[in-house]
Amino acid sequence: MWSQLIRRSWEENRLFSVLLELTYRCNWDCAFCYNDLGLRGTPLSLGQYFDLLDELRELGVLNLVLTGGEPLAHPEFLEIGERAREGGFVIRLKSNAHALRGRLAREVKERVDPFVVEVSLHGATAEVHDRQTRVPGSFERLLANLAELRSLGFRLKMNSVLTIWNQHQIADMFALADRLGVPLQIEPEVSPRDDGDRSPLDLSPTQEGIRELFSIVAERTRAAAPSPAGRAGEAAAGGAEPIAEQASTDRTEVDAVPRKHCGAGSSAVAIDPFGNVYPCVQWRRAAGNLHHRPLAEIWRRSPVLEEVRELTVEVTRRLDGLGADVARRMAFCPGAAEQAGGDPLAVYPAARQRVAAHRAVERPAVRSLPIVGVGSAGQPSVAKAPGA
């Protein structure tokens, strides 16, 4: 039901989800941060955010992601968040939670009331986590703040990025998440910085690390799967549908998409602190700027968004040519593809790595064989990807 609605919003170009990068300021200093900290411009004012939120409501937007940088570092975060709550948005707050304690935590709960707070976990020990955040004490403070946030009634989720530094702690991180009672999602790849700087990729996990992640996730998924009797009971219950993991615009929301590969520019946009509008947080083609034009006009008339919508159709067509299994394993992202090699239709190394890692997990007997030509020259298009 939910996924069908999301699909329809893609197909009908109905703006449904908006991600606001409120500021690039942050009280952590993560070595692999993807934000373009050198980007300059005039930050949106509080009045402009209020106007934007009114406009988003008029346009029918329901999902609103408040992120950064560290969104709580925006001096008027509470005012913006409160206005968003009053506007009836389902708010996802993506924060490192470093400052989310005491009075501020209580104020966020009362005034912003987010549907979920997504926090960052970068290791299972202080040594590993703090090495990535480059803030001593950040691990212990995160654990303390998480306990406080739970007691205040926040719904929590933890996000992590797999790196060469924490890939030996995957099982420990999941064990920690289980102890805390907070779901954990680990992204298997590091992204380049939004200005094109590829130095964060130096921290990319190894192929073995990605395989281990997929293996552990697969095992946990199997262990958590309800029994056939349980599934029948759920089906009989009918009615409301859980959305705890569905309030995003991720590709994983939708199992089968008839025409468009994702909702980038079709049901979602991302907006940076200076008012630049992008099809997606990952696909950094500026489609317009809110200092010059209202979002509704950008949404309806931007040639960039029109092209992106067409490209998402083309991605589906090409992935269909590879077969459903490969497409599912690849979790292809045209934004990441464009970032990696300039071509949103080209298979990029991380996508190939995912396919190889999935295959290794699903067929452990051939684990040691080179399945995909990772490291081969060039970036073949999706339709021509060898072995993919």
Partner: protein, 128 residues
Amino acid sequence: MNQDQSTHGSSTAEASTAAHPRLGADVRYRRLAGETVVVRQQAGEVLVLDEIGGRILEWVDRGVMQGRGLGHLIASLQQEFDVSSQQLEADVREFLHQLQDAGVLEPRREARRGDVEEPPGAPQGGER
């Protein structure tokens, strides 16, 4: 369907309560392509209402029923449906009960002396 609210019978007193409910404090909703997506934040659930259901929910949220009564809503709907007003009223009351059972609506507390009545049509953004 979540049953965390008490179920409702058909007594006059209960029907009266159901006729003047308000949106649950944790509920968010939007119209989307003729349907209405309703999110119950605390339960982490989503429901989808059809065109008419969405309009009724919006009337409740905007305080239209509190200001003008259920009769106004019934009269408005009767212009579109070829059914008796009695049948329409029964259907609407049943729908409101369902929304309360689902935790989307909650009973509006009784007005006390000195309380300021909301004007008809006033949005209740602060209550959501």
